[in-house]
């Protein structure tokens, strides 16, 4: 028996709770079908939820009228290619580039040649993989004679990593930051308003983003768009329960917001982190790779912190270039419009060991997750 099938069997049989939740999901979905709901689309925002769903084969446990689709919750996937291009160049000019392992192989806008920081490293660029911003702070403090750049990729969950040290004034002067931060609620609004064909019946809101911004940050989804929304944890049971809650709300015709991940997420999030983030960053319109410019979705350094801002230091403009790689459908994958398997390059030109497009790079990328966990039900 394939590994994944064994996992599903374990999940379903050994755990009577999950079996019962799945039975409940089928029962509510059946009643919804009688009401004419023949195709319900539930989007999981977060890449880690996609991992849980795919790894544990949860799609194969769903009734036929419930489709689980992956959303834009992979920060590396939507990080603009021109940021990588710039860092590649700087690494060759003597700057030390600090990056999370996840963004190390992220291709910039070029389809061939030195495409990523990984390629730049091989070609002699000084690129270092860090576990977190603290590593970059320690290294820059030790190597004062050189300019260091931290590649700050991520959503609100990652923003405190630079916001807190910057707000406390402990960042060495020779450490610059390229802020690729993006805020998550604006992309959901964008998806629902601007993307044709993006109809959703339920939204699984991100657990750890919500730990920072609070579950209340998602209240606009049920209130303004009428979509049942559940903030959930990352265990298979968390996800199954969240789906059950959403279907139940749909059946009752009462779309609301439920926080299933109360053990970690508070209604107002983490006030200390939010305070530092507001002090250091302001939201401005920003480009999402493969998607476009999303209103007030980018975290930019406020004036007081500009001395650490890479673009400000270099005196150049943060200007997107065409970074859509020919043939890659990562943007549409991120918006849940197509599946990785709809991309002709999936597992052919583009594989986890040799990623061509951004969605194959990060462990949160839908293409990478599908490549490594071969979904049973597509």
């Amino acid at each position: 028996m394939a590994l994944i099938e064994r996992r599903i069997k374990e999940l379903y049989e050994r755990n009577p709770l999950s079996r019962r939740v799945v039975e409940e999901i089928h029962s509510v979905a059946g009643k919804l079908r009688e009401k004419g709901f023949n195709h319900l689309k539930i989007m999981n925002f977060c890449g880690t939820h996609e991992w849980t769903i795919t790894h544990y084969g949860l799609r194969s446990l769903m009734p036929d009228n419930v489709e689980l689709i992956a959303g834009p919750g992979c920060p590396v996937c939507i990080t603009p290619g021109h940021y990588v291009d710039l860092l590649v160049e700087l690494s060759m000019e003597g700057y030390v580039i600090h990056t999370y392992g996840d963004a190390y192989k992220l291709p910039g806008s070029k389809p061939v040649g030195i495409r990523s920081l990984y390629d730049a490293h091989i070609e002699g660029g000084d690129v270092r993989i860090v576990y977190g911003f603290l590593d970059a702070v320690k290294t820059a403090a030790r190597e004062r004679g050189r300019k260091h750049v931290f590649f700050a990729v991520g959503f609100e969950t990652t923003m405190p990593s630079t916001a807190v040290p910057l707000s406390k004034g402990i960042v060495p002067d020779n450490l610059l930051i390229l802020s690729a931060y993006r805020y998550t609620p604006p992309i959901m609004r964008y998806l629902l308003e601007k993307v044709p064909g993006a109809h959703l019946d339920g939204i699984l809101a991100p657990g750890h983003v919500s730990a920072v911004i609070g579950s209340e940050a998602w209240r606009f989804l049920p209130e303004e768009y009428g979509i049942p929304t559940v903030v959930a944890g990352f265990e298979p049971l968390d996800v199954l329960l969240a789906i059950y809650y959403m279907l139940k709300m749909l059946y009752k015709g009462e779309p609301g917001l439920i926080n299933e991940y109360k053990r970690v997420v508070k209604p107002n999030g983490n006030p200390d982190a939010l305070k530092a983030m507001r002090m250091v960053y302001e939201a401005r319109d920003a480009y999402w790779r493969g998607i476009g410019v999303v209103p007030r979705s980018g975290g930019y350094h406020r004036d007081e912190y500009l001395k650490h801002d890479l673009y400000h230091y270099l005196g150049i403009e943060d200007k997107p270039v065409n970074d859509n790689l020919p043939g890659c459908r990562c943007g549409e994958v991120s918006l849940g419009l197509v599946k990785p398997t709809d991309c002709p390059l999936f597992m052919k030109t583009c594989t986890p060991s040799s990623p061509y497009g951004p969605c194959m790079v990060s462990v949160e990328g839908t293409c990478r997750i599908w490549a490594e966990n071969l979904p049973l039900k597509l």
């Binding site: 019962r20 996840d102 576990y131 603290l134 807190v164 406390k168 402990i170 920072v212 049971l237 949160e364």
Partner: protein, 74 residues
């Protein structure tokens, strides 16, 4: 190293660097220093660590509670 994976960890020690609170945590078998985005974190508490930052406390009572909710609902 992975960006978006939040990992549960136990706080072992805390120290200050200037005003910044730095905590030593145990995540699985690994012990690391991370930045605390929670001002009053203390040893013995459990947190979610994300990209080198303790971003949220784990509330152990809620953990118990969720298990009981699960068994009630289904």
């Amino acid at each position: 190293m992975e960006l978006c994976l939040g990992i549960p960890a136990e706080v072992l020690e805390t120290r200050r660097e200037g005003e910044l609170l730095i905590v030593k945590v145990r995540m699985g078998g690994v012990i690391r220093e991370v930045i605390s985005a929670i001002e009053d974190l203390k040893p013995g508490e459990y947190v979610i660590v994300h990209a080198g930052v303790a971003v949220s406390r784990i509330n152990k009572d809620e953990l118990e509670e969720i298990l009981s909710i699960w068994s009630q609902i289904v």
